[in-house]
């Protein structure tokens, strides 16, 4: 197939629960992608991970056909889980909502490496630690 890419996007979606509502509708609709086709495939592929946020990276071709891949949950999601928190601090920078260890930072960084452009694990760990701090989660050790 003479595939040439016209757009690449990532949508933050809840596994098994994508619908034509935003972000799917407006983000894909502007490119003329068949939205129900995407929703059906995404929900099928993610049905077994209900409750998790699983971003989809969508490649849209010149003739408006598309393909997509599932990405790892956002760093914030992984940090929250590692710290055992429901949500981040309501006033980050002033309030400490919880903490994670540097080993946990490394584990999350390893998980996120495939999605980040960070060249080495140290850079990925710095990004994860930065995200944690902005959420009001302290990094110990």
């Amino acid at each position: 197939m003479a595939k040439r890419v016209r757009a690449v996007l990532t949508l933050q979606l809840e596994a098994g629960k994508a619908s034509p509502a935003p972000p799917v509708g407006p983000a894909l609709g502007q490119h003329g992608v068949g939205i129900m086709e995407f929703v059906k495939s995404y929900n099928e592929r993610t049905a077994s991970s209900a409750g998790e946020l699983i971003p989809a990276q969508i490649t849209i071709y010149e003739d408006r056909s598309f393909s997509f891949e599932l990405r790892t949950p956002p760093a914030s999601n992984l940090i929250r889980r590692a710290a055992g928190l429901e949500k981040g601090a309501s006033e980050p920078r002033r309030e400490v909502a919880g903490s994670i260890t540097s080993d946990q930072v490394r584990t999350i960084a390893e998980q996120k490496m495939q999605d980040l452009n960070a060249n080495d694990i140290e850079a990925a760990m710095q990004m994860v630690a930065g995200t944690a701090r902005s959420m009001g989660v302290e990094v110990e050790g």
């Binding site: 197939m1 690449v8 933050q12 894909l28 071709y61 010149e62 452009n117």
Partner: protein
Amino acid sequence: MSSDQAELAVAAWELAGVRHSSIEYGLDEPREEPWPGHDQRSDRAEVAAYLKAEQWAEMESPLRAALGELLDAEPEIAVRGMPERDWRTAWHDHFNLVRIPGARPIVVRPPHIAYDPKRGEVVIDLVPGLAFGTGQHQSTRLCLRLLASVIEGGERVLDVGTGSGILAVAAAALGAASVTATDVDPIAVDAARETARQNQAADRIEVREDSVPATEQFDLITANLTADLLQYLAGDLAAALRPSGRLIVSGLIETRLSEVQGSLEGVGLELLAVEREDEWRAMLLRSSVR
């Protein structure tokens, strides 16, 4: 912002309570995908959050603060109004009937458009989806045009890289006795089977997860691929043609035409015609084995 910053921005916004966001990676112009699934994200990302107007009023300052902290700079934020609409049908605006004029006109019909075929027209029903070949691209239309001009009826046809199956269905509708459609992508194989079924042609089209079959020969082959793939597969394509069999290749832009032509002539094919639409080219060739 960079794609890494975009990841972090999404994380920051999510914490501020934004559930619905997307990242779009800017491309200056369409890019060829070197292999299926190759990551084409650019480093010019835009993050969009979808909020109701009253939510935005409430969240603007925490969002700006969270972003500013992550980016270490004042973020550029543009706010745009968006009408409520039924997003399920948004793509309809982009898909019209595709007409391929000629002695045997072909019409590609998306499901939301009602159309009564005129006498002699070949109508293909196509639901655009997860496989290339919606009829909206020049390379597909060029193939359809050449197919309509060469099929006489009764041929054994091979469609390599069938995608949505549009060319396989067109070949069957134009009178081919049998069509073998192959694709290395299992999603395309499913899509092509579905297109064949929707067009009541499943009995004449065999869809397989394969490239160019090594042990069979065909009267006519269609290959809407890329310049690189056509050069790589040139020998296999020539070997799969019966003596005097014909080959339609597409998916080339003008600047790659002569090099692909050279590769195909190098394996014993002769050029019969070149079709053009915008910068795209398709070639009709014949096996010089008699």
